[in-house]
């Protein structure tokens, strides 16, 4: 990269917190409300036309961060900028514009589609509301959208319940694409699909990205899927981004011990009954306050890791890892 393009999306030191529910006893004893820190100090940038994979295990905060970007969760601290302007800026025309430019695709399209509307009705509603095309052009646009996502025209009159998971995910994509967005946030879009159908959707995403120049934030737990779709990858653990880099940097030269642990755990498609070491159960141990969040599980942890949170170490212009031992 010679001249860095202006990022489409910038996430700057973002924190998201959820209030823990207080029980009656807490209320009576006047205990203060405590918060779960779901995302702590996230920094990300997404360039136009780029796909950034956001990976992590359950509870890592990857979905929360994706939703914070869409404004579904309130940001407690920090800024999320779209084309350099705060996404939280309440000006109505800005919010309206964001709703067209930034779209979301969910894991389970079934729960995000109206069961009482046909596919054509669902798509037409979006087109009319956002006035994407003139009223007399809506029917043609619906047909075009079905084509774009590879659904036969006969699907237009179907209800979501009469479709397979893969077909519904295509509808979810068609609806997101209806408003001609620039940025798609995809939250585990293929996690619920069988591998043969998953491959169809991944290829479709690659085609759409190529044809429409879309930027994508691809949130997923499956590393082989993320490796397949992403230009760059960010790894989250316990609410923190622990490593970021290009696809090759993350997959061939991972610098954070957590990334390495994730990578070696992925089953490979080669018949090899591996000798594995039986380890004790991983408990949901809290990291010591102020220390590295990964220290309780880290095979390399030393006293310093439990006492002092690691700063981000820059290993290359594109590669950052938050570990005391990264690069050294």
């Amino acid at each position: 990269m010679t001249v860095a393009a202006a990022p489409l999306l910038t996430v700057r030191d973002v924190h998201v917190r959820f209030a823990k529910p207080r029980g009656l006893v807490d209320l009576l004893l006047r205990r203060p409300a405590s918060a779960v820190r779901a995302v702590e100090g996230a920094n990300l940038a997404l360039l136009p036309g780029e796909t950034l994979g956001l990976v992590g295990e359950s509870g890592s905060g990857k979905t929360t961060l994706g939703r914070a970007i869409l404004g579904i969760h309130r940001v407690a601290e920090g800024d999320i900028l779209y084309r350099g302007r705060a996404m939280g800026d309440p000006m109505p025309d800005w919010q309206q514009r964001l709703r067209r430019e930034v779209q979301m695709v969910f894991q389970d399209p079934y729960s995000s589609l109206n069961p009482r509307m046909t596919i054509a009705q669902t798509l037409a509603e979006v087109l009319r509301f956002h006035r994407v095309v003139p009223t007399d052009g809506v029917d043609d646009e619906v047909k075009r959208l079905l084509d774009v996502v590879g659904l036969p025209q006969t699907m237009a009159t179907r209800y979501p319940r009469a479709m397979s998971g893969g077909q519904r995910q295509r509808v979810g994509l068609a609806r997101a694409l209806a408003v001609r967005p620039s940025l798609l946030v995809l939250d585990e879009p293929v996690a619920a699909l069988d591998v043969s159908i998953q491959a169809q959707i991944l290829n479709l995403l690659a085609d759409l990205r190529e044809a429409l120049g879309l930027s994508m934030l691809f949130v997923a737990h499956d590393l082989s899927v993320v490796r397949h779709v992403s230009d760059r990858v960010a790894v989250m653990y316990r609410g923190r981004l622990v490593e970021q880099g290009t696809r090759d940097e993350i997959f061939t030269a991972p610098a954070h011990p957590y990334t390495r642990m994730l990578l070696t755990a992925v089953p490979q498609l080669v018949a090899r009954k591996r000798a594995r070491v039986v380890q004790p159960a991983t408990e949901m141990t809290e990291a010591t306050a102020g220390g590295c969040p990964f220290a309780p599980r880290c095979p390399q942890a030393v006293d310093r890791c439990r006492a002092e949170a690691p700063a981000e170490v820059r290993l290359s212009p594109t590669h950052i890892a938050a570990c005391h031992f990264a690069g050294g």
Binding site: E57, L202, V278, Q279
Partner: protein
């Protein structure tokens, strides 16, 4: 199948046919499924949703509710005894002692309101007649064996106090309590993160090596099966389409569906810009067509595939394919 192989078979399933009675007719969930599992061996049963792998597993233990499920034919021989012909009382003894099962969601097998340790040892008290204190001692040992730190204290914990990975360990301990000779594991790691999945697979392999137990591991993830199993059986639309040693089946697949599954999986070791998905959708099991069930999605299909019936035939020693033209699969 050679007679020598038969001699070592702990579980032998012969031409099992399971149907579900639903509105508008019958759905054939499995058709003519035959396979065997030898002592100490791990068989991986792979297939996509709806292929019939879980139904098959449950049918072996007679856990399918009838109606709607109906076993139309076939035998399930465990140590030479046909489980399908046993009285329910005898079957109940076998479940949990000789054959145990682990499900995808540990809470399928756990009560939220009982101490975990008591649940793990319930089988020992019922089937082995252990006293409460003897069961507790054995239970603490079991929890220790599955890697629960501070097992004696954690024995009295309730499921809500444990993580998903720990609960799956507890369910495995429960399954192992009476020393089963066969473990049926239905997607035991599907709900878990990869790092925890690796721990659970390691634990299963270790317990198996120590006890000489046989295992059927059901998974949609061909990678999981590749790394844990001696032999693989690939299931599609209620039939077994390919069986054989894991290295053989994955290194030299002889059924287009197996090849398709492998080619549609994104890989960690090489980068392809495009995946090769299997076109189309699985067939409707309520309306079985003659010929090969995979024909509509197969890129190698010929005319004969539409009407000739298919069955597993040996393509190499121990390696069988249900493809009419296995040599054309490349």
């Amino acid at each position: 199948m050679s007679p020598a192989a038969d001699a070592g078979a702990l579980l032998r399933v012969e031409a099992l046919e399971i149907a579900f009675r639903v509105r508008g007719g019958d759905v054939l969930a499995t058709r003519g499924v035959s396979f065997e599992v030898r002592q100490g061996e791990t068989l991986g049963l792979v297939g996509e949703s709806g292929s019939g792998k879980s139904v098959l597993c449950r049918a072996l233990l007679r856990l399918l509710p009838s109606p709607p499920a109906q076993i139309r034919g076939g035998r399930v021989l465990f140590d030479g005894v046909d489980l399908l012909a046993l009285p329910e009382a005898r079957m109940r003894e076998i479940r949990g002692t000789d054959i145990a099962m682990v499900f995808q969601n540990p809470m399928t097998s756990l009560s939220p309101v009982w101490p975990i340790g008591d649940q793990v040892t319930e089988g020992l008290r019922i089937h082995r007649g252990l006293s409460k204190s003897a069961a507790r001692d054995r239970g603490v040992e079991l929890l220790r064996a599955i890697g629960i730190p501070d097992a004696a204290r954690r024995y009295d914990d309730h499921p809500s106090q444990w993580s998903g990975g720990m609960l799956q360990r507890a369910v495995i301990a429960m399954a192992m309590a009476c020393g089963p000779r066969l473990l049926l594991a239905d997607e035991p790691t599907t709900a878990l993160d990869v790092t925890i999945q690796e721990q659970i697979l390691a634990l299963l392999a270790d317990l198996q090596a120590k006890n000489g137990m046989a295992m059927v591991l059901v998974s949609h993830d061909i990678g999981v099966v590749a790394e844990t199993c001696d032999r693989i059986a690939v299931m599609y639309a209620g039939t077994l389409v390919e069986t054989g040693p894991a290295a053989e089946v994955l290194g030299n697949p002889r059924h287009p569906y197996t090849l398709g599954l492998m080619r549609s999986s994104p890989r960690m070791d090489e980068h392809a810009t495009r995946l090769q998905p299997i076109p189309g959708q699985p067939p409707d099991l309520a309306r079985p067509a003659p010929g090969c069930p995979f024909v509509e999605r197969c890129t190698f299909a010929r005319d004969a595939c539409r009407h000739e019936s298919v069955r597993l035939r040996e393509v190499a020693p121990g390696h069988a394919s249900a493809c009419l033209f296995p040599e054309s699969v490349v």
